[in-house]
């Protein structure tokens, strides 16, 4: 039981990094970055590439991945956001889809379609912790993600850059009038968002491997997390991501936790990853229809 919890928490923390980046861009420019999932995939491959060059643990690669991904994020802003900033938000949606296609096929051309694994953060294997056996990697993921989420919080709440980022997200024109160089701030937001997605890629690419087509799955997770958590809410996105992961890991593991369930007819069919995903989407549709402001309320007032 605890093992399952640790695993879902690990998956959830990686999702949280991804969703965090998604919501930061959403707040800064009021547009959906559909390439966010492909940035996770890209981060995974960047980690794989560095891992091939340098035989060091993943934690050492993390800063490198963050830097490379921040540059990619900056480039994303330059090609897919700034040329379109005075157009309707749907244009950015499509342009980021295009960037997603480019990233996906670039990865495919460079690394091939086979799943690849990035090095573990510290070391692989299992560790016994208070009587339960959990994987080291899962614990390391939780720790790294927690540090990064905390760092984001500190950056936004305690630094001058953070104040500028928040001011831009709240009211771009006002921020501009106050002398904030809004374009720099937006570029920084894209860089941070991409770096966080890349970190998620590094964290996930050891346990779950990485393939060029992973992006579509991740963007849906980020999207759903942000809807559940309340459109535009940063803490909501983190909570939403954790809930999604909990559900994804829990449902297939239910027969292990409650042994009686395994004997039920069709149990292996029902308690599967696919059914979990279907139920997740169905729940998403219900949330959208019944409570479009998300479970915890909407953080941004949509401009009429």
């Amino acid at each position: 039981m605890l093992q399952v919890l640790v695993n879902s928490l690990a998956l959830g923390s990686a999702y949280a990094l991804l969703a965090l980046g998604f919501v930061l861009i959403l707040n800064a420019v009021n547009a959906v970055n559909f390439a966010q999932g492909d940035l996770v995939m890209a981060g995974g491959f960047v980690a794989v590439a560095f891992g091939m060059l340098l035989p060091v643990p993943g934690i050492v690669l993390l800063p490198l991945v963050l830097v490379v991904m921040a540059l990619i994020g900056r480039a994303l802003a330059a090609v897919a956001y700034f040329p379109l900033k005075s157009r309707p938000p749907v244009s950015v949606f499509i342009s980021t889809i295009a960037v997603g296609i480019i990233l996906q096929n670039l990865a495919n051309a460079l690394f091939g379609a086979e799943p690849r694994a990035a090095p573990p953060l510290f070391a692989g294997g299992l560790v016994e912790l208070g009587g339960i056996v959990v994987s080291r990697q899962a614990l390391a993921i939780i720790a790294v993600a927690a540090v990064m989420i905390a760092a984001q919080y500190v950056l936004f709440q305690r630094t001058a850059l953070g104040r500028r980022l928040r001011a831009t997200a709240q009211d771009r024109e006002m921020a501009e009038a106050l002398g904030i160089r809004v374009n720099h701030v937006i570029a920084a937001t894209f860089a941070i968002a991409a770096a966080y997605a890349g970190a998620a890629g590094l964290l996930l690419a050891n346990t779950f491997f990485v393939t060029p087509t992973d992006g579509g799955n991740y963007i849906l997770k980020a999207y759903i997390a942000v809807v559940i958590g309340g459109w535009g809410s940063v803490p909501g996105a983190v909570v939403g991501a954790l809930l999604i992961a909990l559900f994804e890991v829990m449902l297939p593991s239910l027969p292990l936790i409650v042994p009686g369930l395994a004997g039920l007819p069709g149990a292996s069919w029902l308690f599967s990853q696919t059914i979990a995903t279907i139920l997740l989407y169905l729940m998403l549709l219900v949330v959208l229809v019944v409570r479009p402001q998300g479970l915890f309320g909407e953080a941004v007032q949509r401009r009429a």
Binding site: V32, V79, A80, P83, L84, R87, P89, V90, S91, F93, I94, S95, I97, A98, V99, G100, I101, I102, Q104, N105, L106, N108, A109, G216, L220, Y223, I224, V227, W231, W269, T274, I275, T277, I278, Y281, L282, L284, L285, L288, V289, P292, R302
Partner: protein, 588 residues
């Protein structure tokens, strides 16, 4: 296509059609023909997608799913149950339409990003269900051995026959799409896309319009899916995967979102793009992404939109003016408008806080009050754009509570907007003509059955000219509204409201931004409208404009009526002066 021909773009269009016909004649290996057949299938799919994405302006991500569903219906019925085209094809269209109808109710009222996500979710569920339902769908492997097109025992061979069959459907689909979107009904789409609010306020039922675009998209997608399976002879989950959706989106963006030629150009180009970029080997799909990105950045209206900009169409000759048919007058019941104890709050702010007022037939009443006093909110509640928490609005004796804005507008209560809400790309004539859609019987059946140019559009244009002349526009009415000066645009908006033949007209700051001579002209025309029997409520800050015009003034402050009487009485009222404080001195 037909409209484009008539607009005098024969040259480029004929050249394009010629190229299209020449293509398969030149590149005619079996492989080339197959690729060109696929291009036709995608053209049909994109034609459908243009309804919801182009004309309704909604980013639906279900088009690939409807396509896949149509494919599976044909695949399962054809391969497993031996059914022929006459059974499988109608069902391949019917099932996606049914699915669209079922999901439409909850999904269509969602806004942009939510709508995109919800439709994406639906598409993903469909894919996963298809993978799970292995006994029926063959799971991840799909179903091989789907028969070709078989009609009454005759089977259509591959190569040229199939190609011609598919492209015949493209032509049929293009014809239907042209009929639906090319006339007055199509102008209603354009207004809805530019401003849903403005569309509702000229009597257009946007919920119904949106639903129809969604259903049409599904129908075209189902047909394309069926033809796809007949071409490939297998059906697999690939048909449901997201990359089909991405391809459709890319084709629509590259070709053009609302142009029929755009659907064909986009589909033919992007289906062949991977063939042309094959020398790039594994990098060719990157070129695909780059092409999409470049198009959205450099040519947002697509290739066809770019061409139209290069060869702008000759300005249409103005129609002759035609007066509007008399409208059955409302039973003269007084007061014309009665508002009682109306309340509307936004969060903690009471924008309208117990307003009661009445308008007699033939009156011009000025509604004044400082900024934020609730004037526009009051108008929005009266016209049905906002629902009040409390109170009642009666128009000619009938309660308006709970009615949709378009219903209220059709009853003869018209309005203009403080921030002009016109379609910039349409001419002034068409901006006004579109408001006749609800009255000239512009609808689906009407659009499909019309012969030649849509007669309702022609008549609506003649009526629009009549209205625009009455409000003082000349030759400039044939120019796009985006090119017209502010004062002229104000008048176009008033003419559009007049197209509803209203008994009551609500003008929201009509004099804002007008020069003094324009104001004087507007005042004169407002008086003429009054003499024609139109009652008016004018929201205005401009007292010199309003004072000589209004029979009565009503002053709002923080959501309440603080004064109601002759202009002189209200102007002298100490509460009114207090509400405005220094503001009045500067305006008067």
């Amino acid at each position: 296509m037909i409209a484009t021909l008539q607009n005098g773009r024969h040259g480029p269009l004929a050249l394009g059609a010629l190229l299209l016909v020449a293509w398969p004649l030149v590149f005619s290996t079996p492989y080339d023909l197959r690729v060109f057949t696929l291009a036709g299938i995608y053209a049909l799919l994109v034609l459908g997608y243009q309804f919801v994405f182009g004309h309704a302006g909604a980013l639906a991500l279900t088009q690939g799913a409807f396509f896949g569903l149509g494919a599976y219906v044909t695949g399962i019925l054809g391969a497993r149950y031996g059914q022929g085209f006459l059974v499988t094809f109608p069902l391949s269209i019917a099932l996606p339409v049914l699915l669209a109808a079922v999901v439409a109710a909850p999904v269509l009222r969602l806004e942009t990003h939510y709508f995109a996500l919800a439709t994406l979710g639906i598409a993903q569920v469909l894919l996963l269900v298809c993978l799970l339902a292995e006994p029926l769908t063959g799971g991840a492997n799909g179903i091989p051995g789907v028969p070709g097109v078989e009609i009454l025992g005759l089977s259509l061979p591959r190569g040229w026959p199939l190609l011609l069959f598919v492209w015949a459907w493209v032509i049929a689909g293009a014809f239907v799409a042209q009929r639906i979107t090319g006339g007055l009904y199509g102008k209603a789409f354009q207004l809805m896309r530019a401003s849903a609010t403005a569309a509702q306020c000229v009597g257009i039922d946007i919920a119904r319009l949106r639903l129809r675009t969604f259903l049409f998209s599904a129908a075209y997608a189902g047909a394309a899916g069926a033809l796809f399976v007949h071409t490939l002879r297998v059906v697999s989950p690939e048909a449901l995967e997201f990359h089909v959706m991405v391809a459709v989106l890319a084709m629509t963006v590259v070709g053009g979102r609302t142009r029929i030629a755009g659907a064909i150009v986009g589909a033919v180009l992007l289906v062949h793009l991977p063939e042309w970029f094959r020398f790039l080997e594994s990098y060719y799909l990157i070129a695909y992404g780059v092409a999409l990105l470049a198009m959205i950045v450099l040519a947002p209206d697509g290739l066809v939109g770019e061409l139209e900009r290069r060869w702008p169409q000759a300005p249409e000759t103005l129609p002759t003016a035609e007066p509007l048919p008399p409208r059955s007058k409302l039973i003269p019941r007084e007061p014309l408008l009665a508002v009682s104890d109306l309340r509307k709050r936004f969060g903690g702010v009471r924008a309208v806080d117990g307003v009661s007022l009445a308008l007699k037939r033939g009156e011009i009443v000025g509604l004044i009050g400082p900024n934020g006093s609730g004037k526009t909110t009051l108008i929005n509640v009266i016209t049905g754009l906002l629902q009040a928490e409390n109170g009642a609005v009666r128009f000619a004796g009938e309660p308006l509570g709970g009615l949709r804005p378009d219903t209220i507008a059709r009853r003869g209560l018209a309005r203009t907007f403080q921030n002009l809400d016109l379609v910039d790309e349409l001419t002034a004539i068409d901006n006004v003509a579109v408001a006749r859609a609800a009255f000239e019987g512009a609808g689906l059946r009407q659009a499909l059955l019309a012969v030649g140019r849509d007669p309702t559009l022609e008549r609506a244009r003649r009526q629009a000219r009549f209205l625009l002349e009455r409000i003082g526009l000349g030759e400039e009415m044939g120019r796009p509204c985006g090119d017209l000066p502010h004062g002229t645009r104000r008048r176009v908006e008033i003419a559009r409201a007049l197209a509803l033949q209203p008994s009551l007209l609500l003008l929201d700051e009509p004099a804002a931004g007008l020069s003094e001579s324009e104001q004087a002209d507007l005042a004169r025309r407002v008086e003429i409208l009054r003499d024609d029997g139109i009652t008016m409520l004018i929201v205005e800050h401009n007292m010199p404009f309003l004072m000589p015009l209004a029979d009565r003034l009503i002053c709002l402050n923080v959501g309440r009526v603080i004064a109601n009487g002759t202009p002189e009485e209200v102007q002298a009222d100490p509460r009114v002066i207090e509400a405005y404080l220094g503001r009045r001195g500067e305006q008067a």
